[in-house]
Symmetry: C2
Subunit: 144 residues, 2 copies
């Protein structure tokens, strides 16, 4: 089991290649996404964005998130059924451990679990398209 680490890919190039225009709002949103460690929701992204340019609208944030999601540049999560929270799709797949007290998100990856999931789906006659594994936990008092 390993932690994921953050990378900073050049999205502008990718967007251009996909025939998508590089606008000021998009540049700003992309910047926020690539420079954050957390998993902000649309409203949080919006607030960070208007600090840089107060003409950006919430709709544009939503539209940009949808665009980036379709391009595979970000992932969308709905922890606890709350509003969607986003993260850049850096490197390897990983799952999430959410701190129920703080809302913090810790990323982890386990090949064993991935393999088990495949086996289970196969046994039920299915191919996995994608999956979601979320652990909701609280910092343990006991020594690790």
């Amino acid at each position: 089991m390993k932690h994921a680490i953050n990378q900073k890919p050049d999205y502008e190039k990718e967007l251009r290649k996909a025939g998508v225009r590089i606008t000021r709002p998009r540049r700003i949103i992309l910047d926020i996404l690539t420079s954050t460690e957390d998993h902000p929701d649309a409203m949080k992204i919006f607030h960070r964005a208007i600090e840089i340019d107060d003409s950006i609208s919430l709709s544009t944030v939503y539209r940009t998130m949808n665009l980036l999601e379709e391009m595979g540049a970000i992932h969308r999560h709905a922890f606890n059924g709350g509003p969607s929270r986003f993260e850049q799709a850096h490197g390897e797949h990983h799952d999430h451990l959410i701190d129920v007290d703080t809302g913090d998100v810790i990323e982890f990856q386990s090949d064993k679990i991935e393999k088990l999931q495949e086996e289970i789906a196969r046994a039920l006659g299915y191919d996995i398209i994608h999956h979601r594994l979320e652990l909701y936990g609280r910092k343990s008092k006991r020594p690790e």
Copy 2:
């Protein structure tokens, strides 16, 4: 790995014990919940309910679902970020495989995966409060 099977617990007794009144709407909703195999959302429950008593309101469905959830009698899921879907909290814990084409939900349970999750959380210094594992898949063409 095993499938979960359906049981029909006596919720009225439980509700009474919790000091909650047994009303006509609640009885009807409870009946729907205990006699269904699927994981209906509030709207679906509402429609089934007004077939039995057309004076039941959607708010009451929502209120009842919240009540039952707090009592631990049902579980709430937000597959794919869609509307909440409910199921009675029968017997053992289980996870879900969602058929992306039909929306069908298959329940399964794997001790191995549960154990792995515990290990991972412990390694990260957390105790698991609860978790969510959803596999989104498509019926496989290949022989099982």
